[in-house]
Amino acid sequence: MSFLVDSVIMFTSQVLFFGFGWLFFMRQLFKDYEVRQYVVQVVFSVTFAFSCTMFELIIFEILGALSSSSRYFHWKLNLYVILLVLIFVVPFYIGYFVVSNIRLLQRQRLLFACMVWFTFMYFFWKLGDPFPILSPKHGILSIEQLISRVGVIGVTLMALLSGFGAVNCPYTYMSYFLRNVTDGDILALERRLLQTMDMIVSKKKRIAMTRRQMYQRGEDQNKQTGFWGMIKSVTSTQSGSENLSLIQQEVDALEELSRQLFLETVDLQSTKERIEYSKTFQGKYFNFLGYFFSIYCVWKIFMATINIVFDRVGKTDPVTRGIEITVNYLGIQFDVKFWSQHISFILVGIIIVTSIRGLLITLTKFFYAISSSKSSNVIVLVLAQIMGMYFVSSVLLMRMSMPLEYRSIVTEVLGELQFNFYHRWFDVIFLVSALSSILFLYLAHKQAPEKHMAL
């Protein structure tokens, strides 16, 4: 009986998540496009719904809601469905839509889509070889094979995003890095841009007029036949077309210059807006947060290096450690069991919410930047794939943040994966990503003021 009630609760929550994913897709992602293939929207919402259900199950685990057997059942069910979606459904549809865009392969769409899917499966399988992610007692067709590979990809993505985010966050929040931009700079640049546009226009007018005259003369030319007519036509058109190609080259160079000037002006405008924003109260608050986050970022990089160098994997989670410290060193006595449950619930809840929100925002920005009306379907499906893998691996990694009694269900459900390997891999990629972002941002920051000096 209780199983039925639990299932109903789970199902309603899944429907809610599905609705949320549907709305997000319609309102945010596909704001400027028309949804013609509803399959894409359904697949995206389904991936989102099942990923969120996994997080929900973790919360239920901590709170002790629902009976333990039905929790276990739903864990397994959810896992199977999400693996099915991530490995079979989404890649197949990605292949199908990519093939549909290419005109040559239109007729045999299904066939080519299946071929693309098989190639994907091949590389997906090969991915597991260089990593020590399985114990040898698992067979070829076990669920652990699939989860481990999904986990590798997801953890890599998480570490990349996390590393870049950790460095970029203080860089954008703190006003220390903002270059000084005055209104005069912007106006000077705008004036240069308009002057360049005027030059382009006058050259294009010359080209158009020359072409029109050539065309008219060409008509007159046809009337002139005979020997002299032919020679005249050769000499005049030659000089005309040579002139044209010269002017055309100048125009191309000027157009490139105008594009550069435009981009620089946009850059200056956005910097000016950021300077104005930093003077407001909100801006000051973010500036302060930026200092805080930069310290956190340095600490994380330091910890990652220590973990790798000393081959250390943390045994206890932050909650238990924090409670231990307060009890042993600060001498505050309180009910460990009660508080550990609530604190881990809050901590895990915060981690889940911020990671979902952060990922959705990043995906939206990414989508706006690179999508066009032709490729929007493919890009959305790729984003759904990334989202699914990200959420699965965050469950995997979150195991470390939970106290021992809650970890057991995750270990049980996901099978005997080498969890330590994933944490090590996360640290390595995080370090690489953070250091390369620092390098990248440093170069970008250095290059910008030099461009202004050259003006």
Binding site: D32, L187, L194, A208, Q269
Partner: protein, 243 residues
């Protein structure tokens, strides 16, 4: 001589509707082979015979300014784009017939361009909602062009055409529906070519031959106000360029 004959027409629309292909077709009479994203603004020039076939025939250069981007861009992009909206004589609004959202965004595009034009101090005069009266007394002629006409299946054609008819009523503009990869649509003698020619004639007339004093004087006053309050802003270079 070139500055006297200047007529500036903006080509606005969402990203990917086919503005660059359209401008290429209008100016070079050729189909654009490799369309790529427009960064900033690209200009092309079309030579137009005003009042062709009559004794008052005169040749003008029409500059088509193809401004790239989307309506929901960052405000830094919008304020940079606004630089191109100065002293505009006509606007061509381009939308994709296969994508309803691009037609809906045209209201915001026209507001963005017209607001910038009529109030040089940069203050937005409307609250962003569509107001028909604004278009009624609008001194800038508009033309509506729908692209990718060939990609609409026969069954949906009438529905799409009714929708665009409503749109052209709202903007008080003529409409042309074509496919930018097929020059046949704008061949001489077709109704599309006639509408285009009429639009350009209207733009030139409003710019050079209008005897209606009020809009000119108003813009004249704005221009001087500009010079007095913001001498550094070089928006209105010389008042004589208005006449």
């Amino acid at each position: 001589m070139a500055s006297l004959d200047r007529v500036k027409v903006l080509v606005l629309g969402d990203s990917g509707v086919g503005k660059s292909s359209l401008v290429h077709l209008l100016c070079q009479n050729q189909v654009l082979g490799n369309p790529s994203w427009t960064v900033g603004c690209s200009v092309d020039v079309r030579i137009h015979d005003y009042k062709e076939g009559t004794p008052e025939e005169k040749t003008f250069y029409i500059e088509l300014w193809d401004v790239g981007g989307s309506v929901g861009s960052a405000s830094s992009l919008k304020s940079t784009r606004a630089v191109f909206y100065n002293s505009v004589n006509g606007i061509i609004l381009v939308h994709d017939l296969t994508n309803k959202k691009s037609s809906q965004n045209l209201y915001r595009w026209s507001l963005e361009a017209l607001n910038r034009d009529s109030s040089p101090t940069g203050v937005i005069v409307s609250n962003g909602d569509y107001d028909r009266e604004q278009f009624a007394e609008n001194p800038v002629p508009l033309l509506l062009i729908g692209t990718k006409f060939d990609q609409i299946p026969e069954s949906k054609r009438s529905e799409v055409l009714t929708r665009t008819a409503f749109l052209s009523e709202d903007f008080i503009a003529e409409e042309i529906n074509l496919d930018c990869t097929n020059p046949r649509y704008l061949a001489a003698g077709t109704s599309n070519a006639v509408k285009l020619s009429r639009f350009f004639d209207k733009v030139i007339e409003k710019r050079y031959f209008t005897r209606d004093p009020s809009p000119v004087r108003l813009s004249f006053i704005y221009c001087f106000e500009d010079e007095i309050n913001f001498p550094k802003l070089n928006k209105c270079r010389k008042p004589s360029s208005l006449f």
